[in-house]
């Protein structure tokens, strides 16, 4: 269980990215964070694994305070939290297998990894992870030879190598077409259901939110402006959704939502 308490983040240039954000995620939940670009979604996700240090507030994971963790402790926490990204963040020049293996870095000795030496078990595990996302045949290609959808699957496989108890997904399908979006979110849902990995995911499209989320929070200018559970989301109307996104977004996004309703 993850508890976020009164989280505030102010960047050095004075930008208030998060303002007194609190919520909790039960084990096995699929939490979707919605909000405009710049509303603080990415900052929130990155505070959870401390890629960004929050200014104030607490994040407790199974009672352990993430915000107070020092370097070594932090590494141990991080390796329990997998993360996938909008732009996949793969190392383009390395092979798919190396990219996946790098998910294991938190478990192996730094000196062995300097020589690119991974235990044989790790390699088997990596192949198994690739099999889970259906791209074993791509293992020895360079990461930049893959298509967008395949690259995000490599991202998932890399996160799986961590044996995570939680997955953070920062707009994982924003750079993919709608069909691929369902495939990728399908993998996340499968993990969520079968391995009881809780998922915290930021999304843009209402139909995707309604299809996958068990719980939703809406952010606007760093503040939580909407909270809802599975039932609320199903009943959520375009108007409510637009409210979170602000009036400006209405016309631009209208077409997308209509298609989504069909």
């Amino acid at each position: 269980m993850l508890e976020v308490k009164n989280l505030t983040k102010i960047y050095p240039d004075g930008t208030l990215a998060l303002k007194d954000v609190s919520f909790s995620v039960e084990d096995g939940e699929f939490l979707v964070v919605i909000g405009l670009s710049g509303s603080g979604k990415s900052t929130l996700l990155r505070c959870i694994n401390r890629l960004i240090d929050p200014t104030e507030g607490q994040i407790l994971m199974d009672g352990q305070d993430i915000t107070a963790a020092e370097s070594n402790e932090l590494r141990l926490i991080r390796r329990k939290i997998g993360m996938i990204f909008q732009h996949f963040n793969l190392v383009d020049r390395s092979s798919v297998l190396t990219n996946v293996l790098s998910g294991k870095l938190g478990y192996i000795s730094p000196w062995a990894s300097l020589l690119h030496k991974f235990p044989a078990g790790a390699k088997r595990e990596a192949m198994a992870a690739l099999e889970k996302v259906g791209i074993t045949d791509q293992a020895h290609k360079r990461a930049d030879e893959l298509s967008g959808g395949q690259r995000q699957r490599v991202g998932i496989a890399r996160a799986l190598m961590q044996n995570p108890s939680m997955m953070l997904a920062d707009e994982p399908v924003a750079s993919l077409d709608p069909v691929l979006a369902h495939t990728i979110l399908g993998y996340l849902e499968e993990l969520n259901h079968e391995s009881h990995i809780s998922v915290i995911c930021s999304l843009h499209y209402l139909d995707l939110v309604q299809r996958y989320a068990t719980k939703v929070i809406g952010l606007r200018d760093g503040e939580v402006v909407y909270r809802g559970d599975r039932k609320d989301i199903r009943k959520m109307t375009d108007e409510q959704f637009k409210e979170i996104y602000g009036e400006e977004a209405v016309r631009v996004n209208a077409g997308e939502f209509e298609r989504g309703e069909e």
């Binding site: 990155r46 694994n49 890629l51 370097s71 590494r75 141990l76 926490i77 991080r78 390796r79 939290i81 997998g82 993360m83 990204f85 732009h87 996949f88 963040n89 793969l90 190392v91 383009d92 020049r93 390395s94 190396t98 790098s102 998910g103 294991k104 870095l105 938190g106 478990y107 730094p110 990894s113 300097l114 991202g155 890399r158 996160a159 190598m161 961590q162 953070l168």
Partner: protein, 504 residues
């Protein structure tokens, strides 16, 4: 839109005739008072610089003539088109400026810009004259360039040499001094034999007007030489200095007959005998047959060229190596994304950047001039010069590679729980390798190319040899060096392109 702008034009301070008069006195003043300040200043600047340049060129052309008119006439005589056109065009522009001033007082008038075209034409005409462009020379003297060029294009006769076998014999003569003539040399059976009559005489001399007074005519007889072979006549003075006497500009030589004998008349050559020389002056006449024997061997120019091209390549390699060693740490100081954490580091960044830019702006050839003074002539000076330039160039390129790194993979690897070293190893290094290898190979390429010319200022490598051969007019030897440089550079070009393609 343009309609609105027109109405916003400011009204002139002066009327048209006043503006024209003002521009006649000081070109551009009328425009300035017609509130076309930029236009007026531009015209004033253009006319002043044209006048200044023209006066300078006219003084240069009419040099040594006394006074204003003679100078002008002389310069007109030497470059009638340039001076004539220049003066007329300048006057024309001035007049045009005057008319323009009158026009500009009308706020609704369009800007006429053809005057600036004329100004440009005048500038280019002056430029043509200053840079001494001479199309006649370019075409009429082209055949003179062909002689050295053809030797450089096909220099390979100079690349081989043979061992030589010399058949020679000599006979002594007494010159310009009293005493008995030396005896006729003794003949040995089977050996080449040479004798001279008379064996006493005087050398050619120069009178006060540097006219040659011919010396004694002598006859040289030879026997037992190689038959039907060109034989060189040599002369050796009393202290053993040998030289080849010339007659009417040609070296004196003779062909032997079928029995290996010859007979040649010649005039004793000119040789300055120092007044301090005492006693009898015994000189020696010699006949020499030089023949090539054995297999072709690489000539000295070829061997030297190969030695120096190897030196050149290694100079480039060493300079690149030192360049990498120093530029890697420097590049971190010059990477903005790493140095923008505090104002101290930012200051270091700006200082490093500035130094790199200055050092890079100075050509390696100039660094070589300094390095030669510093560490003396030779390849090390070249390496120092190239290293200094490489540090600056690579430092900048590397730092830009560091700045251009994608932060995405770094956060992804951090998120897996990797520590700092692992993050650098798995997220930073793979991104750095392609630009690093690419820039380094490229730099090696540049360094080898540069070290081929750096020898011209004494920095070692093949450039020194090349310049020396050109100055000695040994175009064939120079051609060998040119060929090797071209070959090395193109091979390197290809190899570096291949390697870069593999890594990027």
């Amino acid at each position: 839109m343009s309609q609105i702008i027109k109405q916003e034009k400011k009204r002139s301070f002066v009327k048209a005739p006043t503006a024209a008069l003002l521009s006649l006195i000081l070109p551009g003043l009328g425009q300035i008072l017609a509130r076309r300040v930029q236009r007026g200043l531009l015209m004033l600047g253009a006319l002043v610089s044209i006048a200044g340049l023209l006066i300078w060129r006219i003084t240069v052309l009419g040099r040594l003539a006394d006074g204003f008119w003679p100078t002008l006439v002389k310069s007109l005589d030497r470059a009638p088109f340039f001076v004539g056109f220049g003066l007329l065009a300048t006057a024309g522009i001035w007049l045009w400026v005057v008319i323009d001033a009158a026009k500009q007082t009308n706020p609704n008038k369009q800007f006429g810009n053809s005057i600036f075209a004329l100004i440009l034409i005048v500038f280019f005409t002056i430029g043509w004259q200053i840079s001494e462009i001479d199309l006649v020379k370019l075409t009429s003297d082209a055949n003179e360039a062909w002689v050295p060029l053809s030797k450089i294009l096909w220099p390979w006769e100079a690349a081989v040499t043979h061992e030589t076998d010399t058949v020679e014999a000599g006979a002594e003569v007494l010159v310009d001094s009293e005493g008995a003539a030396p005896p006729k040399p003794e003949q040995t059976e089977g050996e080449p034999y040479l004798w001279v009559t008379p064996r006493k005489g005087s050398l050619s001399k120069l009178d006060e007007d540097n006219e040659v007074i011919p010396g004694t005519k002598i006859t040289v007889y030879g026997e037992n030489f190689e038959p039907n072979t060109r034989t060189q006549i040599w002369w050796s003075d009393s202290i053993g200095n040998e030289f080849r006497p010339r007659y009417q500009g040609e070296y004196v030589s003779v062909m032997t007959d079928e029995e290996g004998s010859f007979e040649k008349q010649m005039i004793m050559p000119y040789r300055l005998i120092p007044p301090s020389a005492k006693g009898q002056q015994i000189h020696e006449v010699m006949a020499r047959q030089v023949s090539e024997v054995g297999p072709p061997l690489p000539s000295q120019p070829l061997v030297l060229t190969i030695e120096l091209i190897i030196e050149t390549i290694f100079m480039g390699m060493m300079a690149t190596l030192f360049g990498i060693l120093f530029s890697v740490p420097v590049s971190f100081l010059a990477a903005r994304n790493l140095m923008s954490t505090s104002w101290i580091t930012l200051t270091i960044y700006y200082i490093t950047r500035t130094i790199l830019n200055i050092v890079r702006a100075i050509e390696p050839l100039i660094w070589a001039l300094i390095a030669v003074v510093w560490v003396g002539l030779g390849p090390f000076a070249g390496i120092v010069a190239l290293t200094i330039h490489s540090i600056a160039a690579l430092g900048k390129l590397y730092s830009e590679a560091i700045e251009g790194i994608n932060p995405g993979p770094i956060e992804a690897i951090q998120a897996t729980g990797a520590n700092k070293i692992q993050t650098i190893m798995y997220a930073v290094v793979p991104q750095m390798i392609p630009p690093f290898v690419s820039f380094t190979i490229y730099r090696w390429d540049i360094n080898v190319r540069m070290s081929t010319v750096i020898g011209m200022v004494g920095g070692g490598g093949i450039g020194f040899l090349l310049v020396q051969y050109i100055r000695l007019l040994e175009y064939k030897s120079a051609g060998i060096a040119v060929w090797f440089i071209a070959l090395t550079v193109s091979i390197l070009d290809y190899v570096s392109a291949e390697i870069r393609q593999r890594f990027v």
